[in-house]
Amino acid sequence: MANDLRHKVAIVGAAETDILGTQPDMSRLGLHAQAAKNALDDAGLQLSDVDGILTAGASPNEISEYLGIVPRYIDGTSVGGCSFMIHVRHAVAAISAGYCDVALITHGESGRSRVDSGFGGSRQSSNAQFEAPYGTFGAPSTFSIPVMRHFHDYGTTKYQMAHIPAATREWALLNPMAIMQQAGAITPQDVLDSRMICYPFNLFDCCLVADGGGALVLVSEDRAKDFPNNPVYVLGTGESTAHSNVSQMRDFTTSDSTTMSSNEAFRLAGLGPQDIDHLMFYDAFSFTPMMFLEDLGYVKKGEVGPWLEDTKTDADGKTIYKTGPGGELPMNTNGGGLSYCHTGMYGMFALLESVFQLRGTAGERQLDGIHTSIAHGPGGMFAAAGTVIMSNE
């Protein structure tokens, strides 16, 4: 069936940290970094040669930020002490598939001295030291951080940004599963008039908070037609991470992890942005898909604000939004994280809507004659990114 991967991948760098024992002057991440340095030195490689990060006891977002690497393959499988054996197995698959050329698997643990141990929950983490003390309070106060820079550099306005929740609500009205299906339409002005949460985000700029879930089942192409539904084929995928803390984002007006992830997905699919019929661009907040429309090449960088504002009117005087029903670029047709559902990690729902649209089972919100769909989203505050391009042919 699949190619035999036996003997196809080799370990060429291997090292411990300088000291094993009692090291209270090394942090958890410091130990990862020292081990990485020693293994890369052993292999005669630089940090810049690494394009895959696999790790446990730290998130790939943390390692990416700490070492300054923007990888094209990431693996944070963390199931206990054997995680590293599993990372080797995953690295074999990734390198064999061409997803990665140089995989760096790191371990670092302050098991005795407990320096920054309790990742994310410890007061010694990078977030606890360098963000939390300044009064951050969840996603609305951190996902909002890049926005004012885009406003400043490109003249984007809150009113333009408000077109995203307005357009997305139009789709929710057509989706019986959407939490806001009965809540009626909203205008961009309604968004501006809603309660201020964390400027520049008003309430309607923020996603819902809900309970729920979703699941996918995948098999190989040669079995796909044996199943009850029209198969949805995966044409190309991408992944990346560029930081962990939003304040460490290299450029607030562009997402490096998105660029890496989406370029990879288009390349593997052999397609360009113009070949995709349907967009699912994760909308944790109104600004989020605006970043993606630019970074994935649908709108020139800096121009998404005026582009969104350029609406049309139909014969009955109803506004047709660029990304809404009847618009030129249908996006987030389930009603999005903004009006359909957002549990905290919304990506699954973006994928599900791609599948339902490609199968032709999206009911009233069904797009006609579509063949390809893309589901793209961030992890954390533009920290990581993942992209999947699918087709029904």
Binding site: G30, S126, P133, G135, I145, M148, C198, F252
Partner: protein, 137 residues
């Protein structure tokens, strides 16, 4: 002083010079002489060349607002500070750091701007912890 309820940082050996510096009202940054480059947040190595020969130098305290938000819903310890500015300041030396703006008036999009010049001020929030904040100049 009244009991401070905001989240407090806890230093590790590698970040201690930063926090001890703040307590002494100095903005200390890690520096790699080989690259002539400062970095933030502190790490025991240089992200450019992976040298582990890092020095600490005092920064000018000057910078510009790279981006910001005005938070109206604060966490514990920040409830009565709202609305307050969470900003990312790009320091003169290159690196960027998150901080709060100390202002005499309530922050609005009209009186806070991206690219505004700022300088560091130090707030002693407890006997042990001082936070580097910034003010508009």
């Amino acid at each position: 002083m009244a009991d401070y309820e905001g989240a407090l940082p806890q230093a590790t050996h590698e970040t201690e010079p930063f926090w001890e510096g703040a307590k002494a009202h100095k903005l200390m940054l890690p520096y790699c002489a080989a690259c002539d480059a400062y970095d933030f947040y502190p790490r025991p190595f240089c992200r450019k060349c992976f040298s582990w020969d890092i020095e600490w130098k005092e920064a000018s305290g000057k910078g510009k607002i790279a981006t910001y938000v005005i938070n109206h819903r604060g966490p514990r310890g920040f409830e009565d500070k709202a609305p307050y500015v969470i900003a990312v300041v790009e320091l003169e030396e290159g690196p960027s750091m998150m901080t709060n703006l100390v202002m005499d008036e309530e922050p609005t999009p009209e009186n806070v701007s991206v690219m505004a010049d700022v300088e560091v001020v130090f707030t002693d929030v407890t006997d042990e912890v001082t936070l580097p904040h910034f003010r508009l100049v």
